[in-house]
């Protein structure tokens, strides 16, 4: 059996589907892994979007019975969980995977094998979670899974939640470490920290957040798992347990998580504003500093989700004021972006439209964030549609718009095609209008007395019009998303191959092919300053200077092991879930574990030294 599969550098010929599939199953190349992240994330985004549409249909009119109460709770739980863990984060990880190595001049990430393991854990974790739909009901305790509702929830829904997130979370943690080491150790010559593009910087800081935030979730999930599956008493009040521990652990993870969602797109927007204004980013240093400050403060504010828990006024106000402080660094970023455009030559194509639409949308979301952070006012906002409005303004108006912006901007680099501009504009306008229609009105719904997670709202409570408008808006958003999908398929079938540098870019990724070869550059470029490509365009010959003469390139070997390991964990996950019903499932539990451990053993026993692409081969591929 040959486990190591060498990636051939043969130019893309027509290959059979099986070969393509095998290629992706065994790949350790950062760009292909990015493809997997993006496609996986897009799949789950559509799934989560369909769930959102179900929510909005149910809330179209008062006392609707489109879905049952139990099912509604499953839908909102899966909507939140899917969107955050399986849609937004993976797509962001995909963008980071594709672009960050290209921005620092690395050939791949530091641990390609772990990278592959991470993506497969995400995909199989996501599938595991969604299997619950088919086997006895999805989790129904909210994406926050507050105990004791989650520990006492009947059926296996919450078990799927625990195991699915445990797998996906482990994958994310690996990616975080991987990106950190890559950025620290694998920058091209001359790429000092203060010359790194802002997207790389935000990747770096996001990774730190991942590293320190996810373990808290891991522990929380373990406790939940032990309570549900092995009779532990962490959240069992009768045995001295305490349900608030879960809330703390969840939010110690959960709040940094929302910055994990937003910081990468802040980075992407910085690149986009700068490129399409033809200006360097305004206040580069303060942008980095602000990002760090957001991350730092982000760890000290988690309890603002718990103002009504009864922590007492001292804790409440400390967390409240700490939270408000985040307005300052975020404001710095907003105004720096505005200043970047100021005096520039602003080109309004679809990538830039997303960025421009983001500014008012996210500002509203951030400002309502400050409003919910004022603790005594949050007694009113908390757990109402005001909070729903707040976080959809930050997440959809920030993260999702950022994802659309980043995808539009980097589509040529990642997929080798430029997206169609007309379709792009249609997507933007329908989505943008639909978004504000859906969520703006929800601020008022919340204050008018509509709590969140309500299966029905009652007649004659003044909530009808608002909900109707909101639901219509959601469908407009759906139109936007569908047009985007059409766009992607259209350019894939019909579009021309993209140029290396279609946007007159400024950063290193635009110096290599679209899409790049798996070794990224024949010769690692030498970096001479910030916005290094722009520098060469204005002060050099428009091309990067190679840092060394042409020589053999060392690349890692592909491997099927990450996939096998993930499958093992997947099987073990099922074993954990069902061993409470039937002890025979222990076979799956231990069997799955054995598969994974065996794969791990093979991995560590093998000498896997990678392979070389020789000078001659490289020369053969003349430009």
């Amino acid at each position: 059996m040959s486990i190591a599969v060498s990636e051939s550098s043969v130019k893309a010929q027509k290959r059979s589907i099986g070969a393509v599939l095998w290629d992706y199953l065994t790949t350790v190349d950062h760009l292909k892994i990015a493809h997997l992240y993006i496609f996986g994330g897009a799949f789950f985004f559509i799934l989560g979007g369909i769930e959102a549409l179900i929510i909005r249909i149910q809330l179209l009119v008062p006392e609707n019975d489109f879905v049952t109460a139990g099912f509604y709770n499953e839908v909102i739980t899966m909507h939140g969980t899917t969107m955050i863990f399986l849609a937004a984060m993976p797509i962001l990880l995909g963008l980071m995977n594709a672009i960050m190595p290209l921005q620092i001049g690395a050939r791949d990430v530091a641990f390609p094998f772990l990278n592959a393991l991470g993506v497969w854990l995400f995909i199989l974790g996501g599938l595991l979670l969604n299997l619950s739909w088919f086997f006895g009901g999805a989790p129904d305790a909210g994406w926050t899974a507050y105990a004791p509702l989650s520990t006492t929830s009947p059926g296996h829904g919450v078990d799927y939640y625990v195991m699915g997130l445990q797998l996906a979370g482990a994958g994310t943690l690996m990616s975080g470490i991987n990106f950190l080491v890559t950025i620290i150790n694998m920058r091209a010559p001359g790429m000092t920290y203060m010359r790194m593009p802002l997207f790389t910087w935000t990747t770096f800081i996001t990774s730190i957040l991942i590293l320190f935030a996810f373990p808290a979730l891991t522990v929380g999930l373990f406790l939940l798992q032990f309570d549900r599956m092995f009779g532990a008493a962490f959240f069992d009040v009768a045995l001295g347990g305490n349900t608030i521990i879960w809330q703390h652990l969840f939010w110690i993870f959960g709040h940094p998580e929302v910055y994990i969602l937003i910081l990468p797109v802040f980075g992407a927007f910085s690149e986009i504003f700068s490129t399409f204004s033809k200006k360097r980013i305004f206040g580069y240093t303060s942008m980095i500093f602000a990002t760090m400050l957001i991350a730092f403060l982000g760890f000290m504010v988690w309890a603002h989700h718990m103002f009504t828990v009864g922590m007492g006024p001292i804790a409440n106000t400390i967390f409240s004021v700490a939270t408000m402080a985040i307005a300052v660094p975020t404001g710095i970023k907003i105004f720096n972006w505005l200043a970047t455009m100021w005096g520039g030559s602003v080109k309004l194509n679809s990538a830039m439209m997303w960025a421009i639409g983001f500014i008012p949308s996210f500002t509203i979301g951030g400002m309502t964030g400050i409003m919910v952070a004022t603790v005594a006012a949050d007694y009113q906002y908390h757990d109402t549609y005001f909070v729903i409005a707040h976080f959809h303004y930050t997440i959809v108006g920030g993260t999702v718009m950022g994802i659309f912006a980043g995808l539009t901007y980097w589509w040529p680099k990642i997929f080798g095609r430029v997206l169609n501009e007309t379709l792009g504009q249609i997507t933007f306008w329908t989505f943008f209008i639909g978004f504000h229609m859906t969520f703006f009105i929800q601020h008022f719904l919340g204050l008018m007395g509509m709590p969140r997670r309500y299966w029905v709202f009652l007649e004659d409570q003044g909530l009808d019009t608002g909900n109707l408008i909101s639901s219509i808006g959601a469908f407009l958003m759906a139109v936007g998303v569908i047009v985007f999908i059409i766009n992607a398929i259209y350019v894939w079938l019909k579009g021309e191959k993209a140029a290396n540098d279609p946007w007159d870019g400024r950063t290193l990724e635009w110096t290599t092919a679209s899409p790049p070869e798996h070794y990224n550059w024949k010769q690692t470029p030498l970096i001479r300053g910030l916005d290094c490509l722009w520098l060469e365009k204005t002060e050099g010959n428009g091309k990067m200077i190679p840092a060394h003469p042409l020589k053999d390139i060392h690349m890692p070997n592909g491997s099927i092991l990450p996939f096998i390991m993930s499958v093992g964990f997947f099987i073990a996950g099922l074993g954990f879930i069902y061993q409470t019903d039937n002890k025979l499932w222990y076979i799956a539990l231990f069997g799955g574990m054995a598969i994974s451990l065996l794969a791990m053993l093979v991995r560590s026993v093998q000498d896997d030294l990678g392979h070389y692409i020789t000078k001659e081969e490289l020369k053969g591929e003349a430009e």
Binding site: A69, G70, Y72, N73, P148, T152, G241, N242, K279, R280, F282, G283, T308, G310, P313, N316, T317, S320, V321, A327, V328, G331, I332, I334, F335, N336, L338, A339, M341, W342, G343, S345, V346, K347, L348, P360, T368, I370, M371, T374, A376, A377, Y379, Q380, H382, D383, T384, F444, L447, G449, P451, R452, Y454, W455, F457, L458, Q461, G462, L463, T538
Partner: protein
Amino acid sequence: MKGWMGKIKALALMSFMAVLLTGCGKENLTALVPKGYGAEESMKLIILTTVIMGGVFLVVIVVLAYVLIRFRRKKGQENYIPKQVEGSKTLETIWTIIPIILVIIMAVPTTLISFDLADASDSKDHINIDVTGNQYWWHFNYQDEDIQTSQDLYIPVGEKVYLNMISSDVIHSFWVPSISGKMDVNPENTNTMYIEAYEEGVYWGKCAELCGPSHSLMDFKVIVVSKEEYEQWVADMKNYDPEKDEPESAVAKEGKDLFEENNCMACHAIGSSPVEVGPNLTNFGNRTKIAGFKEPTKENLVDWLKDPEEIKPGNLMTGKYPQLNDDEAEKIAEYLMQLKVTDVTPESVNN
């Protein structure tokens, strides 16, 4: 705190134009028309922050619009290379300092109000009520008076009332938007909050923490009556003796027997008995709603008795008692509907 309130009230009016267009929601439910102390204090902060946010947003949007109009790339400018500005110490300092100041302006009243709302030092001098959250109904135990009720909470107008809240199962959250902000009802510790209503009336209360399928139906009412009426109510409730109370009509009598036969008493108390597996039904005839949200008509009650699951999915009464036929249900309903202990009812509010 009155000073800054006055000055910004005018501005606040403007920012609430949008709200007014759609209405402020239903009176006695909306948080936008506060009728109690907590809601009013929260509203002060809501207004203050909304005004500040309006200002900040205006600045951002004006700058953005200006940039888009002024610096948009026009035909023939494709090759124009703008000046590559690194940044500006002055500007960056300005937009660091101003938000800091704004945050401080918000932080101070936030702190004051939060401490004020959490100050329970005078709880001894006021009415204390134990609140228990259950899937999916509320129970109220008037500590000092030895009175138990469910679903409808009677309080006197203009008086501080302390609520000591605990849950018997999962986490709930007690929220009467017009009167006060919410507080979680946890299973392991008692949370205390106080409410004070300014006007008589029947106010909607909602459960605000996901607690299962019927979370959205876990409504309750706060009935604010005048002080005299409240005292009357307390006296009536206290003096009520379920033993002595015999229904007048024959149907209701039969209903009472059926109520006992079907073992409803195992879960439902009538009178101040401590049974609280299900709602206390002492003054059921005065309820504003059945099961928290259904109009108190006989048909609805019969429907409830025959198939509570249909009305409140996941409720804990379903399947715990013998199936009732139409006739039995009618009779029990008749009995329950005439359980009126006092003349102080939701209707008597404002009389």
